[in-house]
Each structure stands twice: as C-alpha cells, then as structure tokens.
Symmetry: C2
Subunit: 445 residues, 2 copies
C-alpha cells in the first residue's frame, strides 16, 4: 500500500519538520519533507492519505533487548532477591512452557509492543523450529531479531538449534532476522563462543544480511570469578570484554545487554571493537543489579541502545517508560541534569538501537529507509502544551498517546487499536494459560 | 448519588477482596465487602449500579506534593542545571502569569490528575483570593489541599495571603483545605516560621479541620549554610529539622517535601516529632538533586507520602509512574530488590499520603471513609495476565488503564473520559495561553 501521512510534526533523531509529511511506497519511505511539497508530488489516487494534524510522525521505537514470550510471567513474582526469584518462581514456571506457550506469550508481547509504539524488538528465548518468538512476531506484524540461546550444559543442542534457526528463519522475510545468543560468559564455554562467531560470519556471508551475536554481559559484579571458576580460564585484567576479545568474538555485530559492572579495560575494549551495549534501566533497578554507567559509555564512543528486558522483570514492554527512566537515572546518579538530554535518549531508542541490531536503514525517517513509523496524538490533557518534541517523546508520552503504527509499510494500529486479530480473545487465552502454568488459581484474573 | 460498584477486585493497602463491592451514599463509603452481600443488602432502586467485573476498585491516589498550575510550563525547559533552568526559563515565565493563568493551568492539571486516577492533591503556588489552584480544583471536582506560599522578601504580604486563604478557602466545602506553606528554610525567616505555626493552631481550632504546614526541606545539600548566612541563625548539628524544631514548628501536621539531604539528627528529629515526608523521585532525579533515603525514613518510622512535584520538573502528574520509580529507585540504589515492595509503595501513594495531609478518613476503602474511588480496567494486552494486584498497581498500570474516577461521591470520569467539561476546548485554550506566556510561537502546538 502507498501512503501519505501529512500535516503532522515529523521528527527523528536528526530533525524536526513542523508541518511535515512522510510518504510510504510498499515497505519503504520514499519522501520526508514539507506537507505542501508532499501534496504536490504525491497527489494521485494511488495513495491513501492520513491526516496527521495535531500529531507527531516519528520512527518506531526499537526495543533492543527483551524476552517477549515472558509476558506470561508478568507480575508472577516481584520484590525478591535474584536467586530466590529465579529458582523458586521463574525457572519452575518456564520449565512447564511448551513451544506453543512461548509463541502465545510472544504474540501477546508483540501486540503490547506495537500498541506501545515499538516496531522492532530483539528478543531472546528458547527456540523451537515451528513455534517461537519469530513465528509470533511475524504473525503480529512486528519486526523481530530473534535471539537463539546457547548454554554450556547443552552445547550440541545449542549449536544445532542456532543452525536450524539461521537456515529456517534468518532473513526469511523482511520482518525476521536471527541473532546468535550465547546466553552469558558464565553459561557459555570458550569453544562455544568461537563457534558462535564462526556461524555469525558464515551466515552473514551466505544470506547477505548481517547476523549479530547478542549476549548478557557483566549484569552481576562477580561474573569474572564465575567464568574463571566454571571454565578454568584466565580473565585478563578482570575484564570480561578482554576475555571475549581474546576469543575473537567482539565486533560491531556484537550486542551486549546490561553491562552494568564494567571496569576501565572493559570500557576500552568495548569502545575499540565497536561493541554495542543495550541498557535496560528498569529491570536493572527492579532486580537491584546496579546502575550501568551510560554517560561513560557515551563518552567512550560506544553505541548504546535501550531495552525493556523481559516483562517478568519490568513488568512491561513500555519503551516510553524506559526512555524516561534512562534520562532520569543518570541525571540523578551523577547529580547533573544536563546528562542524557531528551534528544539523545530518543536517538538511543530509535536509530542507535537499530544500528546495534545491524540495520543501516532503520530508526530514522529518511528516503529509502524501512517504513516503520508511529503517529502520536499529543492533544490530551496530560501532554499539552507542547514546546519541545524531544522532551515530550521522553518525559511525557505514554503508550496511550499512540495513534497509528506502521511496520514495514503495513498499518497495524489505527486510532490506538490493533486491527490484525481479536485482541480480547488473545488476552483471555494468554491469561488463562498463564494461570494454568502457574499451577494455581489466583482468582478474578 | 448512591452507587453500588460491584463484581471487581476490591483493593486497598490493607486487603484484597476478589469478588467484591463498594457502596457509596452521598460522599461516603457505607459498605466494603463481598459482591454477594452487597447485592442482598443494597438492592433497592435508589442505587445506581456499576459493573466492575474484570476491573479493580481502589482508593484514589494522593499526590501529596505538586504545583498543578505549572502544567502551563510542561516541557518548557529541560535538561538544564537548576539555577539556569530557574533563572532563565521558569521564573521569567511565571512572572508573566496572572491569577487567571494560574487557575487555567490548575484546571488543566486537575483534569490530568483525575484522568490519571489521582483524587487528592496537595498543591502549592501563588495565591489570589478569587482565582487560584483551589478554585480550579473545586470546579474540576478534585480534592485539594492548597498550599499558600510564604517568602521572606514579602513577610507582610505572605501572612495576609495565608490569613485570607484560611478564612475564605479552608474547609469551605468538602473538597478544599488550606495548608500554610513557608516555601523553604532558606526563603523563610525564623519569625515567619513561628507565625505559621501560630496560624496553624489557631485555624485548626477555629475550623475543627486540621490545618497543615507544608514546606520544601533539604532539597539541596547546602541548605544549612544558606539558612545560616541569610538569617544569621545557628543550625544545631547542621540539622535543618533540629533548627525548625527549636522554632516549635514541627509536629505531625508538618509535611516536608523532598528531604533528600538529611543527616542523622534530621532523621531522629523527624521521627520523634512525627513529621511527614513527601518523596518526589521523578523530579529529584530529573533536576539532579540526589536520591532521598526513603528506606531509612521508613526504618525510622517516618510516614512517607509520594508526590510528582510540578509538571515543569517531571513533566507529568502521573502517580502511577511515581509509584514505579519509587519502587525501582531504592531497590537500585541499595542493590536490594526486596526494598519498597509494591504493596508498601501503593500504601504510600494512598493512605500514607492522606495521613500526611491530615486526613484520617481518606486513602482506604473502609466504611465511613470519604468516597474517593478509582476503577481500573486490567484486561488489556499490556496488563495481562494478572497474578498480584499490588504488583500491577505499581509496576504495570498507566493512566490509560483508568476506567472510572469518583471524588467525594461524584462520578467524574467514566469509560476513561472526563465528563464535567469540554476537555478539548480547555486543552486548546491552555495551550494557546502557554505559548503566549512563553513569548514565542513554537509552531504546530
């Protein structure tokens, strides 16, 4: 479908056009500029027209680290120490989830994401050839980079699942890419890291579409000790980044979630190798893991995207909230209100996140870029007056301001409603199944 | 109007009733219990009935520190150092605001509050006998404790405005009370503090309705020095609380906003005197002021309410967000996920806040309490499944989940829409005026 979205405030991380328009043909943006020019140049009957007056036209948000299938565990357990939370609650629940449950949770998470203005997720979970996070996201219309997890206790299975996913799902269509996801340094052997990097190179070349490696790095402070003890390896300078660099695995196609506990050498190596970091402030705070030094990452020239992490530790997939908490947290921890200004945070949540995931045609409103676009209605009591677009994008807007969502040129949300499937039925079904899996009836829900 | 709200999950800080009901007669709650019992006991035609199946029935949220008129400055200036922000942006804008502008901003802020499930605010701003925050809130239907500011550079005017407000507005009707608001220790002379306390006692006795004193305490770290230098007084043990206690002003009717930089003596004195503290985490972080030690306040037995602060430094009046940031921030800063559990945070945002403001019949769903009630729709993709009500109240819900809002027995919001006035017209008018006051046209808005 060809579409002219006109009369709104066009904004991305690079510019603001107050009376602007964006034109979409098929799945690409073909024009960004003044509404008047769009009217003249794209006037034929071949274009559907969207009146965006009183609205903001922006690139969709990129949730660069999450686990969307975990919607089924939303609020299942909170306010607990990490090990108790995992061992007594999260893992037992997950052990009962089938591939179809994962697909169901991911479908709910996909629709929550879209309704909140998120058009791309990088999501990591257990993989099944048929029923997985990518099958769900593609059905919902959401763009997904599907991380396929690898663990040291199942090396063979991990490698074969990654190969299977790459052959079946990577660049299968416009919406889906696969990321190789060695879970974390303390759960992945040195050999597996090398295999992961080989697979990344092999499949990037074969498909012509970049494959990334995504992992959780230094989420906890004693990761170097754990890795040393478990795998009998040396962690040079106590730096997990230097250790991984020694395995040849770090590159600009490496995406490190969290990275809360980096030392000086970690910063140096991450910066030199062009590693991308994804900051997940809500989950990091909620689990009491610490505060990642994002201002220093940015000063070091590291590309930083933003993520919600999974809904068991957040408990939402709300990237507006993640943007605001990012802006607040570092101003607060440095006692410097000028840090992480709104425009930079919005950039992190759009084009920086897209770049981290290996896209060079996503996250900005620019001719030739993928048509992932959100339209935001700002004429509400809680979001007026409007002086500065970036300020509102980070400090004011909520999922409730989302009016329209387009992914890959397809209109998925209109007037704030998702239209591709019966949402109420899905919500009921996912909720019922979540309570069955919890093995309890909490009544009322 | 008499009302039966039935079939929902009834929750307050003390209990959860899964298939519950709340009955309202005039402005009071007359029944809280099982839906079945409500059906039997309140079946006459004299009751309107609200079907709350699939919804949560909760006490309205109490925003215990804000400046609702400052909606007009929402997003006017951000990401700046405090003094530049105040001197170059906020104060010049405010100097152009008339009493009618204050009333207009407060009206917008009242409606934003109600749509976000806030039923009581304590709001401090410049006072005019006719056009002020209370006149706006009362018109909107919002319960307000109006703080009337006092400053050392206008002692006489300050005292006469406080007297005027007390006589005209305090307990004028069910919705309005007045709080005496010496702005802060560094802007209020020792004599003025004594006068404030005299007025508090005098008017509490005269009206039979408690008058509170609200102020900003130790928001910045060098407040003791400022006070010492400006007023030539001794600050014993470097403790602002001890200094104020020496003036006889601290009591359980004293409400201290912020209190970020408390020393050991401050904690002791605050606890001994029963002072209430209102925590404003979003604004404190955004302005880079530091992190108040809320876990220690609670350990010390201090009653702590929550506030958004004004929309110029937040940039919303969203108490759901403030609850979540409160829960996240202290888990993060202590690295202990068990701190500030969801139930306690909800208690702070309801009954603890109400208690801080001098109410003993507000903030719980209990027979005889004031009928300030919110109904929350949880059957949405972003808020299902539902396992634990308190978890969802703090971590998941957004203003967009608000279905119904009742204040003092009056239904103000239905199906998420405010019905007492034309909201679109108000939003347009407030926005136009805000741009006039800013002395610029930022186009598009």
């Amino acid at each position: 479908m060809n579409l002219v979205i006109e009369g709104g405030v066009v904004v991305d991380a690079e510019r603001v056009i107050w009376d602007g328009a964006v034109v979409v043909e098929d799945n690409r943006i073909v024009f960004v500029g003044d509404a008047g020019e769009a009217k003249r140049r794209f006037s034929s009957a071949g274009y559907d027209r969207v009146d965006a007056r009183g609205k903001i036209i922006a690139p969709g948000l990129v949730n660069a680290h999450t686990h969307i299938a975990m919607t089924l565990l939303r609020g299942y357990a909170d306010d607990l120490a990490l090990q108790e939370w995992l061992e007594k609650w999260i893992w037992p629940f997950e052990s009962r989830m089938s591939p179809r449950d994962i697909e169901l949770g991911a479908l709910l998470g996909s629709i929550e994401s879209l309704l909140g203005g998120v058009t791309t997720v990088c999501s990591m979970y257990h993989y099944d050839p048929e029923h997985n996070e990518a099958s769900a996201a593609a059905r919902a219309g959401l763009r997904i980079v599907m991380g396929v997890a690898m663990f040291y206790w199942d090396e063979e299975g991990s490698v074969s699942r990654v190969r299977d996913a790459l052959s079946r799902w990577h660049a299968r269509d416009d919406l889906v890419r696969v990321s190789i996801s060695p879970h974390a340094p303390y759960t992945v052997s040195p050999d597996m890291w090398r295999v992961a990097e080989e697979l990344r190179r092999e499949w990037s070349a074969r498909s012509g579409v970049p494959v990334t490696i995504t992992s959780h790095l230094v989420e906890d402070w004693d990761e170097p000790r754990l890795v040393r003890e478990r795998f009998g390896v040396d962690i040079p300078d106590g730096s997990i980044y230097k250790y991984l660099d020694g395995l040849g695995v770090l590159s600009r196609y490496f995406v490190a979630a969290h990275s809360i506990h980096m030392n000086d050498v970690d910063f140096e190596v991450a910066s030199e190798r062009g590693v991308n970091i994804v900051h997940n402030p809500v989950a990091n705070l909620k689990l009491g893991m610490g505060i990642a030094d994002v201002p220093r990452m940015l000063r070091s020239g590291i590309n930083v995207g933003l993520g919600t992490d999974g809904p068991a530790s957040n408990n939402t997939l709300d990237m507006f909230e993640t943007m605001k908490v990012t802006a607040l947290l570092h101003k607060g921890s440095y006692r410097d209100p000028s840090l992480l200004p709104a425009k930079k945070v919005f950039e992190m949540a759009t084009v920086d996140g897209a770049r981290a995931l290996g896209y060079n045609d996503l996250g900005l409103l620019r001719e030739g870029y993928l048509a992932d676009i959100i339209v935001i209605d700002y004429r509400k009591p809680a979001s007026m007056p409007l002086f500065n677009i970036y300020s509102h994008l980070v400090y004011v807007f909520r999922p409730g301001n989302i009016d329209m969502v387009i992914v890959n040129g397809e209109v998925l949300v209109e007037d704030g409603k998702y239209s591709k499937m019966d949402v109420d039925e899905l919500v009921d079904r996912a909720s019922r199944r979540a309570h069955e899996l919890a093995g309890e009836v909490s009544g009322g829900a």
